[in-house]
Symmetry: C2
Subunit: 155 residues, 2 copies
């Protein structure tokens, strides 16, 4: 069994068929077609999906993930080293996210006592001390802590 149906890929990866079709549309995965038009995925799609999943957890958008995947060789199958290279940059991202959250928590600790919540001075409502520098932008938490895909039924 060399090629997988969309149902098999879905079952093995946990990614919904509709999401797989969407991913194909977005160029994140590719599939050949049977004479009848049904998708057939190579086994390697599972690793690709794992990468997508991991990248999402780190906070990358599908666009960014696509860009990363596009740097894979293409002729030869990607090696472990390829995957490692792609995910190396994530550490910084995670470190930044953790730092931002930690700062927020520490701000919380110091704020709980006073209940100040001053728009200007409180580390909670204005973390990173970035506020009111210029009129235009970049207040509050930078877009470091971004969405992680909503896990539909774990609410």
């Amino acid at each position: 069994m060399e090629l997988l149906t969309i149902g098999q890929v879905s079952a093995r990866s946990g990614v919904a068929p509709s999401a797989l079709r969407y991913y194909e549309q977005q160029g994140l995965v590719t599939a050949t077609r049977t004479s009848g038009g049904a998708r057939r995925f190579p086994r390697s799609v599972l690793r690709r999906l794992a990468f997508v999943r991991a990248a999402q957890n780190v906070g990358l958008s599908l666009t960014e993930i696509r860009a990363a995947l596009d740097t894979l060789p293409g002729e030869r199958p990607p090696t472990a080293a390829d995957w490692a290279r792609l995910s190396r940059g994530w550490r910084d991202r995670l470190d930044a996210q953790i730092a931002a959250l930690t700062q927020l928590r520490d701000g919380l600790d110091s704020c709980i006592g006073c209940g100040c919540l001053s728009l200007d001075r409180c580390a909670l409502s204005n973390p990173g001390d970035v506020a009111s520098r210029e009129g235009s932008g970049a207040r509050w938490l930078s877009p470091l802590l971004r969405r992680v895909p909503p896990t539909s039924n774990a609410g």
Copy 2:
């Protein structure tokens, strides 16, 4: 100057007028009206907005924030202790978020070497070891690390 116009509130809080109208609609803030129909906000709205902002940074949805705000007394103006009470529960949330991210990062560290990215075993693509337990749900990172409001122009 006891009451503030929407423009003044916006300028002092960094919250766009459209957002302020939206917040009023959602019951997050209240405003009286002039004879002409223009909103007039009490100064206390600034503290409320700071609270909203902080709660968003911690990852609460506006619905949750509204629920929290609804527990405020209402007759008497909220005290520092009130605000502190509301934000006390956030620490756990932040701790959980930090823990999840840290776990993810540590998984990354151990994965970068091998580049495995196995759907089943890799801590990166399958953090928390929750996977493949049951067929239905709750794989991947739980919805702990959720959206932080998109900071419009800080991209």
